[in-house]
C-alpha cells in the first residue's frame, strides 16, 4: 500500500516521483544512513539493490559496487535486516528490492517473499526474470501485497509490452537507453515518445531510468514520466567518498537535492 499511496499523493500534488537506487552494503555500514538522507533530500521511494557476483545487466559503476558488497559478504538476509532497521524510523517511504535471480532461487521464493514482506519491502524488481517465467514468484508477491516491478526497453515490441503490462504493478521501469546501467546520454524527445506510447497499454505509472545524472536530465525526464530513477550517479558518489564517514552521506544527499529542486521548479512553472 505504501507504493500506491505514494503515487496517489504525488499525483494529487502534481509532483513526479524521484527514485534513487543504491546497493545495500556499499559502502559497508552506511546504507541505512544513506537511505534516511536520500529521503530527507527529496527521494519519494528507494530502489535498494541486493548484491550478486555476476550483475550482467549493470555497467562498471554498479557492477563494481556489487563486487565490493559481495566481497564484504553482504547477503539477502543482511539486506532484509537493513530494511527492518530503516522501517523503525520510516514507515512511509516505499522500498523496492532490485537484483538478480540466483540469490532468490537459492533462498527459495517462498522464504524470500516471506522475509521481504516481514521486513517492510513494498516491491520487487528481478532484473533477469522475464514475465514468461515470473508466474510463481508473482503469485506469492501478490498474496503478500507486494508489487512486481517490470522493465521495458527501447527495443521491446508492442506484443511484449502488453505481456509485461499484464503482470506489472507498482510502476513500470522504462529503460531509456540501450546498454547497461551507467551508459551514455539520453535523448529526451525519444524517451517522451516511448513513454506516451507505453501509456496506451497501462494505467500503471511509468518511471524512467538509465542516463539520469543531474538536475537537468532529471527535470527533462520528469516532464513526461511519472517518476525519475537515478542509480549510477549516486553509486559512483558513494564509491568516491566511501572512506569519508558522514561526508559520503552528505554528498549523496546533495545530489538528491539537486535533482529534487530541478524537478520541482519545473513543476511549479
Amino acid at each position: 500500500m505504501r507504493l500506491k499511496n505514494c503515487f496517489e499523493q504525488l499525483q494529487a500534488s502534481n509532483r513526479k516521483a524521484l527514485i534513487p537506487y543504491v546497493l545495500a552494503g556499499d559502502p559497508p555500514g552506511q546504507t541505512i544512513n544513506v537511505m534516511h538522507q536520500l529521503v530527507a533530500s527529496g527521494a519519494d521511494m528507494i530502489e535498494l539493490g541486493f548484491p550478486f557476483s555476476d550483475p550482467v545487466a549493470d555497467g562498471p559503476v554498479i557492477a563494481h559496487a556489487h563486487e565490493r558488497a559481495v566481497s564484504q559478504g553482504v547477503t539477502l538476509t543482511d539486506v532484509f535486516a537493513m530494511v527492518s532497521e530503516f522501517r523503525q524510523t520510516d514507515n512511509v517511504t516505499p522500498i523496492i528490492l532490485m537484483g538478480y535471480l540466483n540469490p532468490v532461487e537459492i533462498m527459495g521464493n517462498e522464504r524470500f517473499v516471506e522475509m521481504a514482506a516481514d521486513a517492510g519491502v513494498d516491491g520487487v524488481l528481478m532484473v533477469d526474470l522475464p514475465p514468461e517465467a515470473a508466474g510463481e514468484l508473482h503469485g506469492m508477491l501478490q498474496e503478500r501485497g507486494l508489487d512486481m516491478i517490470k522493465l521495458i526497453t527501447p527495443t521491446t515490441s508492442d506484443e511484449r509490452i502488453k505481456k509485461i503490462c499484464s503482470v506489472a504493478s507498482g510502476y513500470l521501469y522504462y529503460v531509456s537507453l540501450k546498454g547497461v546501467t551507467g551508459a551514455a546520454t539520453l535523448d529526451t524527445v525519444e524517451v517522451a515518445e516511448r513513454v506516451n506510447h507505453i501509456r496506451q497499454f497501462t494505467d500503471v505509472p511509468v518511471c524512467v531510468g538509465f542516463g539520469i545524472r543531474d538536475g537537468e536530465s532529471a527535470a527533462a525526464i520528469s516532464r513526461t514520466a511519472d517518476g525519475v530513477i537515478a542509480g549510477s550517479v549516486l553509486v559512483s558518489e558513494l564509491a568516491k567518498f566511501a572512506t569519508e564517514g558522514q561526508a559520503v552521506v552528505e554528498r549523496v544527499g546533495e545530489k538528491m537535492t539537486e535533482m529534487r529542486s530541478a524537478m520541482d521548479s519545473l513543476q511549479d512553472k
Binding site: 550482467v56 557492477a63 539477502l76 532461487e105 517462498e110 514468461e132 526497453t153 521491446t156 540501450k178
Partner: protein, 413 residues
C-alpha cells in the same frame, strides 16, 4: 522455485528437448534482462527459420567439408587399447579440424547466421582461446569486425591463442572483473551485446546461455555424433558401448552425445574438471557438488554458495574452468541418461603425457580430462566393447602450461 529433487520423469527412450521456450525439463530457459530480449527473439526467429532451410544446410555442409575439413577421422588407438587390456578405444579426431578443435563447427554455422542477419560485427567470449580463435577465423573469412572477451587470467595462460586471434585481426579484450576467467568473459560479452544489438552478433561458444544458444550450438555441433555413428557402423558394424567427452560448458560433449541419446545401450559420460580434487574447494565439478540455480540466462547446475553468490571454479585447463554448465547436461544428469564423473588436474596431465607417448597425439588439457576417464573405464569393460572418446582439441596451446608444471621456467611458449 528450484529444489533439490530430481525430475519426475526418468529417461524412457523418448527425447524431444528442449521445448519452444528453451527448457530442458526444469533447466534452460531465457533468464535475461528485458534489455536483451529483443536481440534474443530476433536470433531465435532467424535460427529456427534457417535451420529448416535447405540452402542454409547446403552452405553449412559445404563449409564443414571445404573450410573445416570434415569429416574428421575416427581413429582406433591400438597401443592404448592394448595397454589398458579392455574395451576398444576410438578417438573422434576433432583436433584435426581447421583451427584445431571442435569449436570451429558452431563458429562456421553461427557466422552464416550473422551474415544472413546482416550483422557487421562479431563478439565472442573465450576460455581456452579455441572458441576465440574459431570466431576470429570465421570473422576474418567474412570480413567482419571481431571482438573477443577473455578473462585476464586466461589471457596469461593461453598466450599462444591470444596472439593467433590478433594475427587474425580480432581485438582481444582482457576482462579484469571477478575471477578473470570464462564466466567473466561471458558477462562482458553480454554487456557489449546489450549496447549494440543492431550491428552485433554474439557468437557464443558453448551450449550455455539463454535460449536459443544451448539448442543452436548443440545442433551445429551434432555433426560430430552423426559422423561418429556412421564411422563406427562402417568399422565395427555396431554401436559403441560408451561415449566419453569433457564438459566445460559442454559443447563438444553435446555434439557427440546428441545423435545417441535415444540409444539407451550407449552409455554417456561427461567428464568434469576435478581440479585439486572434489573434496577441496578448487575444482569445477558442478554436477557432483553444485546445485541448480540461474546464471547467465539459464537455470542449470552451478557452483554457488548458500547465499546465491557464484563461487570460483578451478581447473588446470581454462576451457573447463567455469562454474556453470550447459542446461541440457543438467537435464541428462537428472533423468539418469548421462553420468558426470571427474578427473583431477594431475590425472589430466598424466593422460596428456600418455596419449602423446603412446599414440603420437598431443591433446588439449581440456580433452585430457576425458582421456583420463577413458583410461579408468576401458579396463572395466570387455574386449569386444567399444568406447568413443571425443578428442575435442589439440594441445599446442597448452605446451607452455605443461612446461611450467615440468619446471621449465625459462620456456617461452
Amino acid at each position: 522455485m528450484v529444489d533439490q529433487k530430481k525430475s519426475d520423469v526418468l529417461f524412457t527412450g523418448h527425447y524431444d528437448q528442449p521445448d519452444l521456450m528453451g527448457h530442458f525439463g526444469r533447466f534452460g530457459g531465457r533468464f535475461v534482462a528485458e534489455t536483451l530480449m529483443g536481440a534474443l527473439e530476433d536470433l531465435d526467429n532467424t535460427w529456427r527459420e534457417l535451420w529448416q532451410d535447405k540452402a542454409f544446410q547446403a552452405d553449412f555442409d559445404r563449409d564443414l567439408a571445404d573450410f573445416v575439413g570434415r569429416p574428421s577421422p575416427l581413429y582406433l588407438a591400438e597401443r592404448w587399447t592394448n595397454e589398458r587390456g579392455g574395451a576398444k578405444i576410438y578417438l573422434k579426431r576433432e583436433d584435426l579440424n581447421h583451427t584445431g578443435a571442435h569449436k570451429i563447427n558452431h563458429a562456421v554455422g553461427q557466422a552464416l547466421l550473422a551474415k544472413h542477419m546482416g550483422k557487421t560485427r562479431i563478439i565472442a567470449e573465450t576460455g581456452a582461446g579455441q572458441h576465440g580463435v574459431a570466431s576470429a577465423t570465421v570473422a576474418a573469412r567474412l570480413g567482419l569486425e571481431c571482438v573477443v572477451y577473455m578473462g585476464a587470467k586466461d589471457v596469461k595462460r593461453q598466450a599462444l591463442n591470444v596472439y593467433r586471434m590478433k594475427l587474425l585481426g580480432a581485438t582481444v579484450i582482457p576482462v579484469e572483473t571477478g575471477s578473470q576467467t570464462l564466466k567473466d568473459a561471458i558477462n562482458e560479452a553480454l554487456r557489449d551485446w546489450v549496447a549494440r544489438p543492431e550491428d552485433t552478433f554474439y557468437l557464443l561458444g558453448t551450449v550455455c546461455g539463454p535460449s536459443p544458444y544451448p539448442e543452436m550450438v548443440r545442433n551445429l555441433q551434432s555433426i560430430i555424433g552423426r559422423e561418429a555413428r556412421q564411422q563406427i557402423m562402417a568399422k565395427e558394424g555396431k554401436l559403441p558401448d560408451a561415449l566419453v567427452a569433457c564438459v566445460g560448458g559442454g559443447s563438444n560433449a553435446m555434439g557427440l552425445f546428441h545423435e545417441f541419446i535415444k540409444d539407451t545401450s550407449v552409455k554417456l559420460y561427461g567428464v568434469e574438471a576435478g581440479g585439486h580434487g572434489v573434496h577441496t574447494d578448487k575444482h569445477a565439478a558442478r554436477m557432483s557438488s553444485g546445485r541448480p540455480g540461474v546464471l547467465q540466462g539459464a537455470r542449470t547446475y552451478l557452483m554457488t554458495d548458500e547465499h546465491g553468490q557464484i563461487t570460483e571454479s578451478h581447473s588446470v585447463s581454462a576451457g573447463l574452468d567455469y562454474p556453470g554448465v550447459g542446461p541440457e547436461h543438467s537435464y541428462l544428469k537428472d533423468i539418469g541418461r548421462a553420468e558426470y564423473p571427474t578427473a583431477t588436474d594431475d590425472e589430466a596431465l598424466d593422460a596428456f603425457r600418455k596419449l602423446t607417448r603412446l599414440e603420437g597425439i598431443m591433446p588439449a588439457l581440456e580433452t585430457a580430462h576425458a582421456l583420463a576417464y577413458v583410461d579408468k573405464l576401458a579396463p572395466t569393460m570387455d574386449k569386444d566393447q567399444i568406447i568413443i572418446c571425443n578428442l575435442s582439441g589439440r594441445g599446442d596451446k597448452d605446451i607452455h602450461t605443461v612446461a611450467e608444471i615440468d619446471g621449465l621456467d625459462g620456456f617461452e611458449g
